[in-house]
């Protein structure tokens, strides 16, 4: 037998390979832990948001981020740093002004999109593993075209990070005066990680410098873009770390507020 050049002609078929995927590694592992991790977090957050209690520690001024800012008339007055505007109907979360935007910020985040398109929507579950759907139009039409609004939720997320920072600062001011406890460090750590996640956002990277054509004409923005690019590489890790710190912070505040544990105080 000899090999000869084959002249391409007309519409041709793909190689007839029966197996849907020939991958032999554990490609299903990453989507699986993503499903478990995200589902567990969403379940915890949902329960906590509609619990409507144990969100405020009076004696140390700790407010959980899940109730910040507390804007319904059901809120403990001291916990409402920005006023009360909504009726205390049980279906309305006490942080109704911020939670929807935080949810949308994370839902349209370029990392989370990858995570849930792969793990929940199976489109595709892993590289070179077939899509679980017969047809595909991506983010070209409604509703997924709305993913393009990520930038606006980023702006909201910046405002919300400011509010969370304010809460963390206010927590140093207890009814007995200035004080520091383990809860303060947890609140502070959470806020720092939230800022890191928010700033490392791809939209932020674009707004700060990515949209420029000539970096040389904007040295300050170029430098800022460099820092954000460094953080941006870690956007996935920060996305998971902040889920962890949010849940941990909330759980700590809930435990102290419910009296299950007492706060470890360093000063006052």
């Amino acid at each position: 037998m000899t090999s000869s050049a084959t002249r391409p002609q007309g519409v041709r078929a793909r190689a007839a390979i029966a197996a849907k995927t020939l991958r032999t590694d554990r490609w299903w592992f990453a989507p699986l832990i993503t499903v478990i991790g995200l589902s567990a977090w969403v379940a915890y957050a949902t329960v906590r948001v509609f619990m409507h209690k144990w969100y405020w520690v009076e004696e140390f001024s700790y407010l959980t981020p899940f109730y910040s800012p507390c804007v319904t008339d059901r809120c403990i007055p001291e916990a409402s740093h920005f006023g009360q505007y909504l009726p205390g109907w049980w279906i309305i979360p006490d942080a109704a002004f911020t939670l929807p935007f935080l949810l949308l910020f994370r839902l349209t985040c370029y990392y989370y999109r990858k995570a849930y398109y792969r793990s929940f929507w199976l489109s595709p579950p892993a590289c070179a593993v077939p899509d679980g759907h017969a047809s595909y139009s991506g983010e070209t039409r409604f509703p997924l075209i709305v993913q393009n609004s990520h930038r606006y939720f980023f702006y909201f997320a910046v405002i919300i990070s400011l509010i969370n920072s304010w809460d963390a600062i206010l927590a140093f001011n207890t009814p007995q005066g200035f004080g520091i406890g383990l809860g303060n460090l947890i609140l502070l750590g959470n806020v720092i990680m939230l800022w890191a996640y928010t700033i490392s956002c791809h939209s932020c990277r674009h707004i700060i410098g990515g949209r420029l054509k000539h970096f040389s004409k904007h040295p300050v923005r170029y430098r800022a873009w460099g820092y954000i690019s460094w953080l941006n590489v870690r956007h996935m890790q920060l996305a998971w770390i902040t889920l962890g710190t949010l849940a941990l912070t909330d759980f700590y505040v809930m435990s102290v507020a419910a009296g299950w544990i007492s706060d470890l105080r360093f000063i006052n």
């Binding site: 519409v11 020939l22 991958r23 032999t24 999109r113 593993v129």
Partner: protein, 367 residues
């Protein structure tokens, strides 16, 4: 690891189990082979040994064996990889290694696929367009400005990102509307280039290349042998640039109120690039590198004696194939030698009587 000794010449080494897809467009299947593997070898070495021993007619594309030509793209244990960059030491000793052709493209034979899809998409992408008043040789740019574009120039066009992308891998019907990650980074490369004057590359990426189909699941980045950050540095910045122009209500409102940035939103594939190479005379300028006249006034004077509207016979149209385009290669066309885009009856340099203008001394027509 895994072999008895080093690959000393003539010394028998461990045999490994291979399953290789054999066949063509009519059909085919996975066939088993036991092949000798020596220490330090890559999958492509084993394919070559198979060609030398059990399967002399096994078809496989390859070239440099150094991960720089992008020819030996294949799917190894289901993952798109370069055969020359996949070390045998990454597999278990008793592991069966399955090698198949790229799934997304039509197969020609065995491991060779027809990747014309990519060349068609490449041809549709508007070329680099420097500003009209800038002559070749006068390009000056700063390293920081061109750095982002340079990352994408590392692309070796192995098309692993194209074959792994589920938009066309699992949905062949999207091939018409979707250009694929390789051409998104081409668009990004040009849009970020400090000397590219086109302003419609974002619209082009969205409307013509199908950027919206991408759901950023990042498989292109995972398989890239050049480790180009295709998604983070190419596709997402392009998506953000599209948002700037199309989905930003503040920009939309601003453009309505101030009537700024009103660029006509037309299809860009059919038109010629506005910034494409033009003679320096078009800008009325005097140029040192383009080989033109140094004296603008003499030029203007000389032009007055020119007849710009000579009647000349029209050349025949270029020979195109059934799809109305020039063929990609000579092999895909119905005759030997590449056809001329100017029509086959036109030769260069044009004979003076075929110019559509007359030199002042020609035809004795001075005004």
């Amino acid at each position: 690891m895994g072999t008895e000794t080093s690959g000393a010449p003539g010394k028998p080494a461990a045999k490994r189990q291979f399953r290789i897809w054999r066949g063509d467009a009519e059909g085919g299947d996975l066939q088993d082979y036991m092949v000798e593997v020596n220490e330090g070898e890559v999958v492509l070495d084993v394919i070559h040994r198979l060609q030398a021993t059990d399967a002399p007619d096994l078809a496989c594309r390859w070239n440099c064996k150094a991960g720089k030509c992008g020819s030996c793209s294949m799917e190894i244990n289901g993952m798109p990889k370069l055969g020359c960059m996949t070390r045998m030491s990454t597999f278990e000793e008793n592991e069966t290694i399955t090698v198949t052709p790229l799934r997304t493209f039509p197969v020609i034979r065995d491991l060779v696929t027809d990747v014309s899809f990519n060349y068609e998409k490449a041809r549709e992408t508007p070329a680099f367009a420097p500003p009209t008043d800038l002559a070749p040789g006068d390009y000056r740019m700063q390293q920081v400005d061109v750095e982002r574009s340079q990352e994408f120039r590392k692309c070796i066009e192995c098309f692993l990102c194209q074959t792994v992308c589920h938009v066309i891998r699992d949905h062949d019907e999207n091939k018409q509307a979707f250009s694929g990650p390789r051409y998104f980074i081409r668009a990004a490369e040009l849009d970020m280039h400090p000397l590219d004057a086109r302003t419609d590359r974002k619209d082009y990426a969205q409307t013509e290349q199908g950027l919206g189909f991408c759901n950023i699941t990042k498989c292109c980045t995972e398989v890239c042998p050049e480790h180009i950050k295709i998604t983070d540095n190419g596709i997402i910045p392009m998506k953000e640039r599209v948002v700037d122009r199309r989905y930003d209500p503040l920009v939309w409102l601003g453009s309505k109120i101030f009537r700024r940035g009103q660029v006509p939103q037309t299809s860009v594939t059919s038109e010629h690039s506005p910034g494409a190479v033009r003679s320096s005379a078009a800008g009325g300028g005097v140029h040192s590198h383009a080989g033109g006249s140094h004296d603008a006034q003499a030029e203007v004077q000389a032009q007055q004696g020119v007849n710009w509207h000579r009647e000349v016979p029209h050349p025949t149209a270029p020979a195109v194939d059934a799809s109305g385009k020039l063929p990609l290669t000579e092999l895909t066309f119905d005759r030997a030698a590449a056809p001329s885009p100017f029509g086959d009856d036109v030769t260069f340099p044009l004979p003076p009587e075929h110019l559509n203008f007359a030199h002042p001394t020609q035809d004795e027509r001075n005004h």
